[in-house]
C-alpha cells in the first residue's frame, strides 16, 4: 500500500505550488476578481500553453499529458490555497471529465484538442433554485429532424459567460428524475444561446446564467445515447466533486497557515497571542480538520482514477466523492471561519485575505451539494438499502 505521493506526483505538486505563489498572488487575485471576466487572459494562456495544466489528465492521444486524477487533485489543492482566479475547475473538473466519461471519440478528439490548446469550457445543468440532483435538469431537448432543439434556463454555471465550449444537460419534454436526460457538447457561440454574468459573494470564481432559446444542434452534438445520460452525468458530477474537494483542502490549509502566521506576530498582554492555549487549541482543531480532509480528498482522487479507468474500485466513486465533499466542505468553512476569529478585528476588513478564503469556502460548500446533501446521499445507502 502506497497511499502517498510518488516522487513524480510530489514534483508536480511542488511545481504548481511554486508557480502559483508567483502568479496567483493576493494582488493578482484582487485585480482579477473585480473584472467581469473574472480572470486574466494572459495568465490563462500561460497556464494552458506553458504549464499545459488543462491537458493534465487528457490522454496523450488527444494532445494531453496523460496523467491521473491524483495529480489533478494535487494541483487543485494548490489552486485553492492561492484562490487562483481561472476557469480551471469549469474547464477541467467539469468539461474535460464530461468529455472523458461521455464523449464520442470524435467529440473527444475535437474538443479535448481545443481545450489542450487553450480553449475554456464548462458544464451547465442546474435550473434556477434547484439542488444538484437529477431534478435540477429542467432544460429540454426535443428531437428535430436529425438534430435537437434545446430550450431552457441554467443558473450557477461556472464561468458560463466566458467559456468557449459548453456541455449542457437537458431532458426529454415531460420526463422527470433520472429518466430522459441527455448531454450535449457545442460551441458557446451557437445561435440562440444568451449568457450573462451573475455577480457572486465569492468574487474569486464566476457564475453565469445561460438561456437557450430554440437552440438547434446536430445529432453529433449529443454525447452518448439520447435520453440515457443520467448515469454518465452522475459520474461526471462525482468527478468534479472530487476535484472541488481537493480545492477545499487548499482553502482549509491556507486559512490555517495564515492564522498561525498572524497570531505568531500579534502581541497582546506582552506575549505573542499564538502562545495562548485558547489560540493554540483552535489552531490544533483546524489542523485536525485539514489533515483529515486531505486524507478524504486523496482517497477520493485515487478512486476517481480507478473510475475513469473503468476498474472495479471505481464503483466506490459516489461514496468516496460524498465522503470527501461532506468533510472537506465543513473543514474549509470551519477553518476559514476560525481564521477570521483568530485574526481578530482585521479579519473582517477587506484588506486582509482571510475574508476571501471565507467566501471561497462558502461558495465551494454550496457548489455540487453541501455537507448535509452529501450526508443524506450516504444515509440512503446506509439506512435505506437502496443506491444513492
Amino acid at each position: 500500500m502506497e497511499f502517498r505521493f510518488t516522487e513524480e506526483q510530489q514534483m508536480i505538486r511542488d511545481t504548481a505550488e511554486a508557480f502559483l505563489a508567483e502568479v496567483s498572488t493576493p494582488a493578482a487575485v484582487r485585480e482579477a476578481m473585480v473584472t467581469e471576466r473574472g480572470y486574466s487572459e494572459a495568465l490563462w494562456q500561460q497556464i494552458s500553453q506553458e504549464m499545459m495544466w488543462p491537458a493534465l489528465h487528457i490522454p496523450e492521444a488527444f494532445g494531453g499529458l496523460g496523467l491521473g486524477f491524483v495529480e489533478l487533485a494535487a494541483m487543485q489543492e494548490q489552486m485553492g490555497r492561492t484562490l487562483l482566479c481561472a476557469p480551471f475547475l469549469s474547464t477541467v473538473g467539469f468539461a474535460v471529465n464530461a468529455l472523458l466519461v461521455a464523449g464520442s471519440e470524435a467529440q473527444q478528439s475535437h474538443y479535448l484538442g481545443e481545450i489542450a490548446s487553450g480553449k475554456t469550457a464548462t458544464l451547465a445543468f442546474m435550473a434556477p433554485g434547484s439542488r444538484p440532483d437529477a431534478d435540477a435538469i429542467q432544460a429540454t431537448c426535443a428531437a428535430d429532424g436529425d438534430g435537437f432543439l434545446l430550450n431552457g434556463e441554467y443558473r450557477y454555471v461556472l464561468d458560463g459567460h466566458t467559456a468557449d465550449i459548453l456541455v449542457l444537460a437537458a431532458r426529454d419534454p415531460g420526463s422527470a428524475g433520472t429518466a430522459g436526460v441527455s448531454l450535449f457538447v457545442l460551441p458557446a457561440d451557437t445561435a440562440g444561446i444568451s449568457r450573462q454574468w451573475l455577480p457572486t459573494m465569492d468574487q474569486t470564481r464566476r457564475q453565469a446564467r445561460i438561456v437557450l432559446d430554440k437552440v438547434r444542434v446536430e445529432g453529433d452534438a449529443c454525447m452518448g445515447a439520447a435520453g440515457q445520460a443520467w448515469p454518465a452525468l452522475a459520474k461526471i458530477l462525482d468527478l468534479a466533486t472530487v476535484a472541488l474537494a481537493a480545492e477545499q483542502v487548499g482553502v482549509a490549509q491556507q486559512s490555517l497557515d495564515s492564522s498561525v502566521a498572524y497570531t505568531t506576530e500579534r502581541v497582546q498582554f506582552g506575549r505573542t497571542i499564538a502562545s495562548y492555549q485558547a489560540i493554540k487549541h483552535k489552531a490544533a482543531d483546524m489542523m485536525l480538520k485539514v489533515e483529515a480532509a486531505r486524507s478524504a480528498a486523496y482517497y477520493a482522487a485515487c478512486i476517481a482514477d480507478e473510475a475513469l479507468a473503468g476498474r472495479p474500485l471505481g464503483s466506490g466513486l459516489a461514496e468516496a466523492a460524498s465522503i470527501a465533499k461532506a468533510y472537506c466542505s465543513e473543514a474549509a468553512f470551519f477553518n476559514a471561519g476560525c481564521g477570521i476569529q483568530l485574526h481578530g478585528g482585521v479579519g473582517i476588513t477587506a484588506e486582509y485575505d482571510i475574508q476571501l478564503y471565507f467566501k471561497r469556502a462558502k461558495s465551494t460548500e454550496t457548489l455540487l451539494g453541501d455537507a448535509a446533501w452529501h450526508r443524506e446521499r450516504l444515509a440512503r445507502q446506509l439506512l435505506d438499502g437502496g443506491v444513492a
Binding site: M1, V70, V260, K280, A379, L383
Partner: protein, 396 residues
Amino acid sequence: MKLSFSPEDELFREEVVSWLADNLCGEFEPIRFRGGPGDEHSFVEERKAWEQKLAEGGWTCIGWPKQHGGRAATVEQQVIFNEEYARAGGPGRMGHIGETLMGPTLIAFGSDAQRERYLPGIRAGREFWCQGYSEPSAGSDLANVKTRARLDENTGEWRISGQKVWTSLAHESQYVFVIARTDPESVAHKGLGFFLVAMDQPGVTVRPIEQLTGTSEFNEVFFDDAVCAAEDIVGAPGEGWKVAMGLLGFERGVSTLGQQMLFQNELDEIVRVARANGAARDPALRQRIAEAHIGLRIMRFNSMRMLSGGGDDGSLQKEAMIYKLYWSSWHRNLGKLAMDVLGAESEIVPEAPYGLSRLQSMYLFTRADTIYGGTNQIQRNIIAERALGMPREPRG
C-alpha cells in the same frame, strides 16, 4: 498512490483468516467480540487460554524479530493481522502490553539477560504485563512521578515505594514496568529509572477502581518497599525517561485498523438498531449516522496515509499527530449517537443491578477515550507546538 495491498500480503491475509476460522471457535466461541476496551474485566481465564492458543499458532508477537521468537512481520502484515483479528471477533488481548510495549522495549533497550528472562513468557502468552506510569500527581505531567527507587546497600536490590494509578489488568499481571525516581533530589524527567517488578510480592498491593460503568478495568497499585532485583533496571539509573518515551514510540499505528474494525462493529449495531426502531427515518439522526460513517471511513484513509510511511527523513507526519484526537473525539460522538438512536430504551439496563448493554457500556466508557493516553487538551498542545510551531506555554 496505490490503495491495494500486495499479492504477498493478501496471501498472508488468507492465512490469518483461515487460522482464525479454524481456531476461534468451540471453547472460544463465547469470548468472540469480548474483552475489548470497557470490557477488559470479562472472560479473563478464557482469554488467557486463548493467548496460549495464539502462541501455539505462532500468532503472538508477530512483529518481533525472528531471533526473539517473532515472525518479523512487516507493518502491512501486522495491520492485516489486527484487522482480520478484529473482523473475526478476536477477544481483547490480555498480552498486548507485553507484546506491543514491553517486548519491543526490551529488544531495543534491555540487556541480553533481561530478554532471555522475559521475552519467552510474553511470546508464549503465559506472562502478562501492566504499565506503571501514571500517578495521582503525574497524569498529563508524567515527568512529575514521585515513586522512588532506592538501592539497598545490604542486598544490592532496588526497593520501590510509591503509588501508580490507572493500571489496566494489574490484578491479572505477573509483572509491572515502573518509572521511579532513582535520584531523590531530581525533578522532572531527570533522575528516573525504568524497573521490571514482580507483582506477586508483599510490597505490592492492587486496589481496583470502580468506574462509571460499574466495572473495574483500572487499578491503583501501591508499592511499599517492593523488591526489584539489581539486574531488573532497564538502562542505567537516570535513563528511565529515555526508555519510557522509547516505549511509547513502539506502537506505530499497527493496531489502528484493528481498532477501527471494533468501531465498525459498533456502528453496524447502531445502524441495525436505527433500521429496526425507526430512528433511520429521522432526518437529524440520518445526518448523524452518515456523519459517523464518514468519520470512520476517513479514519481509515488517514491510517492508510500513516502506514504508507513518510516521516522516515525525520519530517513530521501530521496525519499521525492528529490520530488520537481524531479517533477519541469521533468515538465519543458515536457513544452519544448510540444512545440517541436507542431513544427511551437507552436508559433501560438489560440486567439488574447494573449489567450494561454493549452500547451503553461503550457510551459511558468513551468518555475515557478523550482522557487516557494524552487528553485531548494535551494532544492539542502537542499539535500546536510540534506540528504548527506555535510557542510553548510558559511552564511553571
